[in-house]
């Protein structure tokens, strides 16, 4: 829907509707018009520019960061190990990844309840990459009016040149993004050098291509449609909203009745509100909605309309904030509360999950011991009236340095580790499988006994594990 269409529509007094997954937007079947977001300057545009630089800088930069001889952040799928700076997580530590995801979800709930769709407007990859692709579009095709004219016009040499420049930049950026993304799952330096030597494996090529395609499709082609049609968060955010949640609203009371007026004239004398109906708030909207119709689920809270309107209010000599961050309570003249039960509940759950992960990482023992009893023989009688049982132990050294471990058996009188007697060396981040022989004197070994096998690192006494197993006698 273009601005002209909206301007032509009969005007109803808009109300600040509470957020519902319903909108006045056209239904699924309506043909979508291409949206040409107008460029905007202001406080929030600067904030978004900053977050784009910071977030994309982190994404493209951190992949190349090294930490003690390995990639600092690497979810090494081929090796089944996750490196997060000094921490190495094994598949056995999946618990931490699950906890991290829960923390991410709870943070989203918390910040949504507090300040609405902060995530959508500033931090969502969809917004961030779309912003970047829009910048490229502006550099190559010019500002909004020029872009619209270019699209309507015939295929001149200039149009071909501008469009191909845009596509070339988009494709290059998308490919580099795909490459970086894959670089978080396979060591980026090795796939980088493979790429230079044209020896990249077929799966690596495939995933780079797939993620390039996804970047290009989402940020260049689909854009706001991802938010409108594909994003579940846009639909269920209402569950986290209440009347004290910070949302972007048009001040209907102050703005209406809207209408054009001469600069410097008194709107009240003409029976007009502060809205001059310039439709700039609609033109800058990346999802193409009219914020004056109330809060809609398409609104990603990017605040572009606030910047645009503030600028207009400055020019008209009216106070800023005709469109502003506010709460439904504040808008209806009631007091807004920041401290409310919802925030306490989300905040409590969030801090509980965060403390759980910090605590469990602090007391985590980077060592796993698996004990498997030999399945072929229950026991063996050896000379000297001794009974012998055979085990296989698997020692996983999850630490980033090598350790020497000592094995001990307990739980039965005269129980002794016959093999291995010395220290068991396990290199950093490795698994070692060791056959173990235990012996106990025949007169105490009769029957089945619950015993324990423990390993302890010689250099760091608190790196130790104990496992239960059985010792079987005649």
């Amino acid at each position: 829907m273009s601005a002209q269409d909206i301007a032509r529509k009969p005007r109803k007094a808009p109300t600040l509707a509470s957020v519902k997954p319903i909108s006045s937007a056209p239904s699924f079947y309506a043909a979508a018009a291409k949206i040409y977001p107008r460029e905007v300057q202001g406080r929030f545009a600067s904030a978004r520019r900053l977050t784009v630089f910071v977030l994309l800088g982190l994404f493209y930069g951190v992949a190349w960061l090294q930490w003690r001889g390995h990639q600092a952040l690497l979810f090494d799928l081929p090796a089944r190990k996750f490196h997060i700076f000094g921490l190495t997580l094994w598949p056995q530590d999946f618990f931490y990844m699950a906890l991290l995801l829960i923390i991410a979800a709870l943070s989203l709930f918390f910040f949504t309840a507090l300040a609405g769709r902060l995530f959508c407007g500033y931090a969502c990859p969809q917004t961030v990459w779309t912003e970047l692709f829009l910048w490229i579009e502006r550099w190559t095709e010019g500002p909004r009016a020029r872009r619209m004219k270019l699209d309507e016009g015939p295929w001149t040499a200039e149009k071909v040149l501008r469009k191909s420049a845009k596509q070339a930049a988009w494709v290059t950026l998308a490919c580099y993004t795909g490459f970086t993304f894959v670089g978080y799952f396979t060591p980026i330096r090795s796939i980088g050098s493979q790429l230079v030597h044209l020896s990249l494996g077929s799966w690596a090529i495939f995933w780079v291509f797939l993620y390039s395609l996804a970047t290009y499709g989402n940020a260049g082609f689909l854009r706001e449609q991802v938010c409108k049609y594909m994003c579940p968060y846009a639909r269920f955010q209402s569950a986290m909203f209440d009347k004290d949640t910070l949302v972007i609203s048009y001040d209907t009371v102050r703005g209406e009745p809207r209408g054009a007026r001469r600069r410097g004239s008194d709107p009240k004398a003409q029976g007009l509100g502060d809205c001059i109906d310039c439709t700039l708030c609609v033109q800058v909207c990346p999802t193409g909605i009219d914020i004056r119709k109330g809060l809609q689920y398409e609104c990603i809270a990017c605040a572009a309309c606030i910047d645009a309107c503030d600028d207009v209010m400055d020019k008209m000599g009216s106070p800023r904030g005709l469109i502003r961050y506010t709460t439904e309570h504040a808008m209806s003249g009631k007091a807004s509360r920041i401290a409310r039960p919802r925030l306490f509940v989300y905040g409590f759950l969030l801090s509980a999950a965060a403390s759980a992960i910090v605590y469990s990482l602090a007391v985590r023992t980077p060592l796993i011991l698996d004990v498997i009893r030999d399945r072929n023989a229950l026991y063996r009688e050896v000379h000297g009236g001794l009974i012998e049982n055979i085990y296989t132990i698997r020692i996983i050294n999850e630490d980033d340095k090598a350790h020497a471990y000592r094995l001990e058996a307990a739980g039965l009188n005269s129980l002794q580790v016959v093999d291995p007697v010395g220290e068991i060396e396990v290199p950093a981040g490795s698994v070692s499988t060791v056959p173990v022989r235990l012996q106990a004197s025949g007169d105490v070994a009769e029957g089945v006994h619950a015993i324990t096998l423990s390993i302890k690192a010689e250099d760091v006494p608190h790196i130790a594990r104990t496992e239960q197993t059985r010792f079987i006698g005649p």
């Binding site: 006045s24 079947y29 309506a30 043909a31 799928l77 598949p91 990844m97 049609y229 594909m230």
Partner: protein, 104 residues
């Protein structure tokens, strides 16, 4: 369903098909990502080497992850496609209430 008797209607049908495709591919992609992560956190793809049909005999981990992901995705696509088909093929009066009828 809209009969494509005008250019406008044709555009709408094309657009509906596009949205349907997104509604099928996207949630199943998310589900496949989740299922893949959970499954491969427990199962090393190399363990499948001797477990299944001869197909997996020379399976390296990367192929294992990719095959697993596409397996889960295809299951998800099937499920989403059935959902979308059931919604789209329902008689209009029994399908979802028109958005314009709902209170705002």
């Amino acid at each position: 369903m809209i009969a494509p008797h005008s250019k406008r209607a044709e555009g709408r049908v094309r657009r509906q098909t596009g949205i349907d495709l997104a509604l099928i591919l996207w949630p199943s992609f998310l589900a496949a990502g989740l299922a893949g992560a959970l499954f491969f956190a427990v199962v090393d793809p190399q363990l499948l080497r001797n477990a299944g049909p001869r197909l997996f005999d020379n399976l390296d981990r990367e192929s294992g992850y990719a095959l697993g992901f596409f397996f889960f995705w295809s299951i998800g696509i099937f499920s989403s496609a059935v959902s979308v088909f059931m919604i789209r093929s329902a008689r209009p009066e029994s399908s979802a209430i028109d958005c314009d009828d709902l209170p705002r």
